[in-house]
Structures are given as structure tokens and as C-alpha cells.
Amino acid sequence: MKTSGLKPLLQVNQLGIQFGGLKAVSEFNLQINKGELIGLIGPNGAGKTTVFNMLTGVYEPTEGDILFEGKKIHGLPPYKITRRGISRTFQNIRLFAELSVLDNVRIGYHTIAKNSLLSSIFRLPAHFSNEKEMRDKAIEFLKIFNLEHLKDETAKNLPYGMQRRLEIARALAAGPKLLLLDEPAAGMNPKETAELMDLIAFIREEFDLTILLIEHDMKLVMGICERISVLDHGLLIAEGSPEEIRNHPKVIEAYLGEEVGENHA
């Protein structure tokens, strides 16, 4: 890991958000260095997805700031944050349900293609070269995710596990430096989860990615994350290596009644 002397890729300082009078998350700090794989865990309703929504611009934080590659990104709309290099998946899969598998990934390429509106309307050469490039790249991606044979299938017809994989493929197509995965293993059986772990490790190498993931499956989190942050009632209660987290008294307290390692579907 190359951490020392380098600026962190993502720096979150004292982040907080209020809905009405309710503080959903407060004083949240997080630092991610390039190349790391970080886990964000916590009991249901702890505010994990809210953190993701703030990082990606879906919600605007009411306090604190978010620096990505040293630049402020809080307050930007989601599409601009994606263009800076953060893309994500969703807890409740949000694929373009009626579109083909190929089209889902091609839409991920949207920002990378540069051809203008007029080139598409008048079918100028730029349109064709961009379309061909997007298609070829998308097919390459589908090969990596072992979905190529299904490229013409409608996304909503895929089995659940494949939809999750497709969503990751789509997020990757947008060319992120930082990938946020919101419960990627939710609803998967143990075999699929194991495959997913391999896949995450593989794409991390292949695309030189930094990954932040929310997960309920402790086996997955403990197995692949280098550092883990624990959130409870909107507050950061612990941070450290999987070993440290496993034995942290506050974490055990937060999960009291909820057995550590339990698999939430």
C-alpha cells in the first residue's frame, strides 16, 4: 500500500446531515488512500447509505466537507461527482430495467464518449466511431463480468445475482477512480458471495481501483477489507483493521442482540 506522503484520494471531514430536525449522520470522518479497499459497516439504520448518498451528491450534506483528490465535491450534483471519478451501485438495484444488458453498460460510457449532439443527428463519422468504441468497450466489460452471452437480454429478466454484477459493470463503465458498492452481496447465496469477493479483488487489480463498500455480510467484509469504519446511530464508533474491529467493545455493543456475522438478506 502506498499511503505515506501521498494525499488521500478521499477525505471526509466532520460530515453531517439533518432531515427536518433529525440528525441522520454527524461528525463523520473518513480518509481513503489510493488503492485501498475500505468497509463501512453498522447496524440497520445507522446511516451508511446516507453517507453514500452524500458522497455521490444525491443528498447535500448540511455540515462538513468532502474532498476528492484534494478538491471540494460537496454541493455538486451527482452527475458532476461521477465525472470527477466516483461511481456507485445501489442497495436496491437500480438498473435500467427495460433496457438490454449491453445498453445498461453503454450508458455507463456516456461521459467518456465525446461526440456532439449534431454529429449524432447528422450521422457524422464521429458518431459512428464513438458508437463502435462504446459498443466494443461495453462488450469487453461484459466478458470480464461473464455476462457477454446475455448482452441482448432485458436487464430485469436477469437473475438477482447477475443483476448485481451488471450494476457493478455499469458503475465501472463510467470510469471511476473510487467505486462505492452498497451491499453488493445482499440477497446472494454463499457461492455467489464467494464469486463476488473474487470479482471485487480482480477488478480492483485490473482497473487500479479504490473501493468503499457497505456490507452486512461480515464474512465478506472481514475477508477482503483492509480497514473498516463502523457507524452507529449516525456516529462513527470505531475504525481500524478487521482484527481490531472484531474485538472492539463499542462495536460489540452496537451489534448486541445482533450476532456479528449474521447474514442480513
Binding site: T49, N53, V58, F90
Partner: protein, 291 residues
């Protein structure tokens, strides 16, 4: 004191919008449908009242009740025949169906009696009552009285009766209400019946006040009543009342200032301003989509 008279006129017009808006908002609250045919129920109410008065020699109140009964039956019929099948359908299919029902009622009416307007008989005396040096139109006061009675009745039904409780439950969560043993179909029917009865009453009141009715009369007041419903916060009953009154007062004000040609535009400008700045309406709560 001219402006007080105008205010009273505005409130009378607003009562009509409010009565129509109530039906709109109740139906939208319970099945999330923009019932474009609601304006036509209002039109049928006006004609029922007219025929009741001219052919059955009814006085105003019996004619009003007759119109309300006929309209509530019509409303239930529309729901049963057209909308019930669409409950699991897409919004746009429902919207187009509602437009279809609206056109159907208009042109069936034209087919049977032609498009010519009908002059409403002067059944409630139109005289000016002086009070504290201000002249009030007796009809305007009468309209206001009837509207207030109907609204109190509605509040009673919605908040004090079992049916009202069922209506509120279904509008919050249809499936949960069904699991709690509420007969959802009957509750929706009742909502249409009550909403349509109010539109029917508005029809008779409109006829009496503006003296001319025709088969296409429902279109514009229908849409404006929807504006009133949005203004107050769609799905919220007091919101529809307040929205109706505000709209009526603003329209009368615009006319009184000499811009009567722009009266109809005023309603839509209000609509657009409210949608842009406070889409949930005066009484509505802002909701955000869960991600």
C-alpha cells in the same frame, strides 16, 4: 367598499372551485389518479339540477339533493366501469382513460341534447342586502352558506365516521388497509360517491349563479379546480377548500382590475408558481425519494 363586494364575489366563485376541488383531491389522495372526468360530473350535476327545476318543478334544495344523488351514482359508475380495472395499470394509461371518460360524457350529452347553452331558471331570489353600508348579493351569501354546510358535513364524514376512517387508511396505504380488513373497493367507491356529490352540488350552484350552462362547461372549471387542489396540497381536504377560495378571489380580483381577458391565465400562473416554488402545496409536506 367596492372591494368587499368583490371579495364576496370571489369567495362565491371560490366556493364552486373548492367544492369541485374536494372531489379531485379525495380521488387523487386515494388512488393517485388525475380524474379529468370530474369536471364532467360537475356538468352533469348542473344539468340534473336544471331538469329537476324545469321539468319536476323542484325548488332549489331538492334540486341540489337530486343532483348530488345522480352525480354520486355517476361517479361510482365511472369508477366501477373505467378506473377499477386500471388500479394496477400505469399512470399514463389511467390518465388517458380519464380523458376518454371526460370526452365520452361531454359528447354523449351533446349527442342527446345538442351543444346549445341552457338558461338556468332564477330560483333563488337575486337581491342586494345592505349591511353596514355594504351591499351583498343574496345569492353569493346563499352559496357561501351551502358550501360551508357541505364542508362541515364532509369533515364530519371523514373524521367521525367509520367510512371516513377507512378512506384515510386506504389513502395512506392501500395494501395495509386491505390486510386490516378494510373493504378497499367499497371505500374507493364511497370516495368517488362523496367527491362526485360535491361536484354535483357545485354544478347546481354554478348554474344558479352564472345562469348559463352547456355540455362543455366542465372542462375549464374542472382543470381550475385541480389547480386549487394542487395549490392547497393535493390529497389534503382543507387544502382543497383554501385553494379553491384563493383561486376564486384571485380570479375575481384580476377581473375587477379590468383584466378579465386574463382571468383564466391567472389560475395557471398561480399553478406554475406553486409547482415551481412549493410543489407540495400550501399544506403539503415535502417528501424526498428514497435512494
Amino acid at each position: 367598499m367596492e372591494w368587499i363586494q368583490q371579495l364576496v364575489n370571489g369567495i362565491s366563485l371560490g366556493s364552486i372551485y373548492a367544492l369541485i376541488a374536494l372531489g379531485y383531491t379525495m380521488v387523487y389522495g386515494i388512488i393517485k389518479l388525475l380524474n379529468f372526468a370530474h369536471g364532467e360530473v360537475f356538468m352533469i350535476g348542473a344539468f340534473t339540477g336544471f331538469y329537476g327545476i324545469t321539468f319536476l318543478n323542484l325548488s332549489f334544495i331538492p334540486a341540489l339533493i337530486l343532483a348530488m344523488v345522480v352525480c354520486s351514482i355517476l361517479g361510482m359508475l365511472i369508477e366501477r366501469v373505467a378506473y377499477r380495472r386500471l388500479r394496477r395499470s400505469t399512470r399514463i394509461a389511467a390518465l388517458i382513460t380519464a380523458i376518454g371518460v371526460s370526452l365520452f360524457i361531454q359528447y354523449v350529452m351533446i349527442y342527446f341534447r345538442g351543444a346549445t347553452p341552457e338558461a338556468y331558471p332564477d330560483i333563488v331570489p337575486r337581491q342586494n342586502i345592505e349591511f353596514l353600508g355594504i351591499k351583498f348579493n343574496s345569492q353569493a351569501l346563499f352559496i357561501l352558506l351551502i358550501t360551508i354546510i357541505l364542508m362541515i358535513l364532509l369533515q364530519y364524514i371523514v373524521h367521525r365516521t367509520k367510512m371516513g376512517k377507512a378512506m384515510r387508511a386506504v389513502s395512506l396505504d392501500m395494501d395495509a388497509a386491505r390486510l386490516m380488513g378494510i373493504n378497499v373497493d367499497n371505500t374507493i367507491s364511497a370516495t368517488f360517491a362523496i367527491g362526485s356529490a360535491l361536484a354535483g352540488a357545485a354544478g347546481v350552484i354554478f348554474g344558479m349563479y352564472y345562469t348559463s350552462i352547456d355540455p362543455l362547461m366542465g372542462l375549464l372549471p374542472g382543470i381550475k379546480a385541480f389547480v386549487a387542489a394542487v395549490l392547497g396540497g393535493i390529497g389534503i381536504i382543507p387544502g382543497a377548500m383554501v385553494g379553491g377560495f384563493i383561486l376564486g378571489i384571485v380570479e375575481t380580483g384580476v377581473s375587477a382590475l379590468g383584466y378579465s381577458n386574463w382571468r383564466d391565465a391567472a389560475a395557471f400562473i398561480i399553478l406554475i408558481l406553486i409547482l415551481i416554488f412549493r410543489p407540495s402545496g400550501i399544506f403539503g409536506k415535502n417528501t424526498r425519494e428514497k435512494v
